[in-house]
């Protein structure tokens, strides 16, 4: 009787284990700020990844394995990011990270990820240490592109030569600020006031007044989220004709900002945000592949960050196919030898020395007027 019970138990265990083995998945760790200042962008990144994973899984997955997303909220805080990264490394045993835009969080966790030899596909800029960069790939355009686009617009289209800089304290914004300070003289632009704000500050009137007092006729706003709306509201409250030049962000931010300032507000637009105006070609085709899937699930919600997440997963899948392996080192090496990949955010050309895939400025300057994005260059 005892032996029969043992055999029955063994059979039951085998029966349960067999499908589990057949359904082995490729685990993608996703550290995203679903709450906190990066929520708007990182939630879109997460949603874009889900659309991409569904698409890949509907085609049979990658080399026979379905993609499984392991999503953790880092609350847009570096300390939380370290916790969730470590959990995904040790408990979930993820194969790769495709993480969101909280650069400080990705930096803080990078040493653990490198030790575990797991590649990181990032929405943020690259971590500062060379040994960490080796395992990290950024799907963000180089920060200087956003700065250069705005300075070029001011130089070519306006007489404005004095500009105030308003930036948040994130590493990405600080980097852009430093680049702006360095690049301004090349465009004949002076930056008399550079001010840092906190993402949850309630008012920037004093910073804007300071810029106005110093003769600045435009505000170079560097940072994501609702703070751009606050800046616009404050400019209007102060009755200034100052131009507000916003960073790449979600249309949900641009809409209320544009409704407040009209054509006094210009922003750096990504290709997916000006899809209708793009010429026919590979870029438009790739956006057209993603956009219907996105819209079927999320309606007319902005696709720009979700599109980058789609790009990150598609590059990962291409690298696995090339490597013919799920090993972290093999995937890493394959990413660096992939031919240029046309994504929704531009062309990604990774190499052993280039880990920021976009090398040509893909951006446009645009306004939000009468409920529409209007390209201005």
């Amino acid at each position: 009787m005892k032996a029969a019970s043992f055999i029955a138990l063994a059979l039951a265990t085998t029966a349960l284990a067999a499908p589990a083995m057949a359904q082995e998945t490729f685990k993608v760790g996703v550290s995203v700020g679903l709450t906190g200042y990066a929520a708007a962008v990182d939630r879109a990144w997460r949603d874009g990844l889900e659309v991409a994973a569904d698409y890949v899984n509907s085609k049979g997955g990658v080399r026979g394995r379905k993609i499984q997303l392991v999503i953790e909220d880092n609350k847009s805080e570096p300390q939380e990011a370290v916790t969730v990264y470590r959990k995904m490394i040790s408990s979930d045993k993820v194969n790769i990270f495709i993480s969101g835009c909280v650069s400080a969080g990705n930096f803080a966790a990078a040493q653990f990820v490198v030790r575990a030899q797991i590649p990181m596909m990032l929405c943020s800029i690259l971590p500062p240490q060379p040994d960490q960069v080796k395992w990290a790939y950024s799907f963000l355009a180089p920060p200087r592109f956003e700065v250069e686009k705005r300075f070029a617009y001011l130089k070519d289209k306006t007489p404005i030569r004095k500009v105030g800089v308003l930036h948040d304290p994130s590493p990405y914004a600080n980097l852009q600020k430093d680049l702006a300070v360095k690049a301004a003289p090349d465009y004949g632009i002076e930056l008399p006031v550079v001010e840092q704000y906190k993402q949850d500050d309630a008012d920037f009137s004093t910073q804007i007044s300071k810029m106005e007092s110093a003769g600045a006729k435009a505000v170079l706003k560097i940072g994501l989220g609702g703070s751009t709306v606050t800046t616009a509201k404050n400019i209007k409250q102060l009755g200034l004709n100052t131009l507000l030049l916003g960073s790449v962000d979600d249309l949900a931010v641009f809409k209320p900002t544009g409704e407040t300032l009209g054509n006094q507000f210009l922003f750096v637009a990504a290709p997916a945000q000006v899809y209708e105006t793009l010429p026919e070609g590979a870029l438009k085709q790739e956006i057209a592949r993603f956009l219907p899937l996105w819209r079927a699930k999320h309606g007319d919600r902005d696709a720009v960050w979700a599109g980058k997440a789609w790009d990150a997963l598609m590059v990962t899948v291409a690298a696995i196919d090339k490597a013919q392996s799920f090993d972290g080192e093999a995937i890493r090496a394959a990413v660096e030898t992939l031919p240029p990949y046309q994504g929704t955010g531009g062309i990604y050309s990774f190499s052993p020395t280039v880990h920021q895939g976009i090398t040509t400025n893909p951006f446009f300057m645009a306004t939000y007027e009468n409920g529409k994005v209007m390209v201005k260059n």
Partner: protein, 291 residues
């Protein structure tokens, strides 16, 4: 050379934000006086004020009507929190720390519920009076700033009259001075607790409605406002509604002057250092603690 119009503008900006901090600080005091509870869900009331008004305005409800409905709704939310979160703990004589944790949990629940219902994107309201700002000695005075100042002054006077002249207001003050003695005099202390939550939530909602046209609202804007309001309440003298308002003005002004003189990177550090120094000299706050 000292730019006087810029300095004046800075002071005006600081006072305008300070009014909002002050109104939130009053909310803390009203509940504390009636119950001895520090309600950290206060920021959620501010967020709900802006958010519910936004939703109603998007449904084409006129702004004034939307604001009135919102204030009533948020006051009801305050009463609900009092009934299902605070009252059971209060009846069991839970400690202050438990109460604080419970109200923080309520704040998080409200935030998450808002996130699920309206999403994560920033929303805003139009200014109440869409006209160019008035100019006085080179200082721009936006109409929304006037709305904030005007409403704050009216509310301060109304609250003063309520606490001094009405039976209910006096009963709430009696609870603030000595709850046991108030109960012995026939005052329904538990009713005063519910009323204090309604009043406090309504004040938070008004602050949210006033400030949203000058910035944005989202599910997660409540906590920073709660922190600023709490600081305002402490600086003014915890439990003193008018003191909290003065505390809010002081905090707003200190932040603005810190940006003026040191830059916004040092804003909070400088402002809070000044306030800390002030509290070293006068630990009970501007008007002295209520208890």
């Amino acid at each position: 050379m000292l730019d006087l119009s810029f300095l004046g503008q800075t002071i005006l900006n600081g006072l305008s934000v300070g009014c909002i901090y002050g109104l939130i600080g009053i909310g803390f005091c009203v509940i504390y006086n009636a119950s001895g509870i520090v309600n950290f869900a206060q920021g959620a009331f501010v967020m709900l004020g802006g958010m519910i008004t936004y939703v109603l305005v998007s449904l084409n409800v006129p702004l004034i009507l939307a604001a009135a409905i919102t204030i009533i709704c948020v006051a009801l939310v305050g009463v609900i929190i009092e009934r299902i979160v605070v009252r059971p703990l209060w009846d069991r004589k839970a400690t202050m720390f438990v109460m604080i944790l419970a109200t923080l949990a309520a704040q998080i629940v409200i935030e998450r519920a808002t996130l699920i219902v309206v999403g994560d994107q920033p929303k805003s309201l139009p200014v109440f009076t869409d006209l160019p700002p008035l100019r006085l000695f080179g200082i721009a005075i936006g109409y929304q700033t006037l709305w904030i100042f005007g409403t704050s002054i009216v509310l301060i006077i109304a609250l003063g009259l309520f606490f001094q002249k009405t039976l209910v207001g006096r009963a709430m003050r009696a609870c603030a001075i000595n709850r046991e003695a108030a109960a012995l005099q026939g005052i329904q202390v538990s009713h005063m607790l519910a009323l204090s939550f309604a009043l406090s939530a309504g004040l938070g909602a008004i602050a949210g409605i006033l400030v949203t046209p000058t910035q944005f609202t989202a599910f997660n804007v409540g906590t920073p406002f709660a922190i600023s309001g709490f600081i305002a309440a402490i600086v003014g003298g915890f439990g003193r509604p008018f003191g909290a308002f003065l505390g809010g003005l002081t905090l707003g002004l200190a932040q603005a002057l810190a940006v003026y003189s040191l830059g916004s990177g040092l804003k909070n550090m400088a402002a809070l250092s000044v306030l800390l120094l002030f509290l070293f000299l006068r630990p009970s706050g501007i008007l002295g603690s209520a208890k």
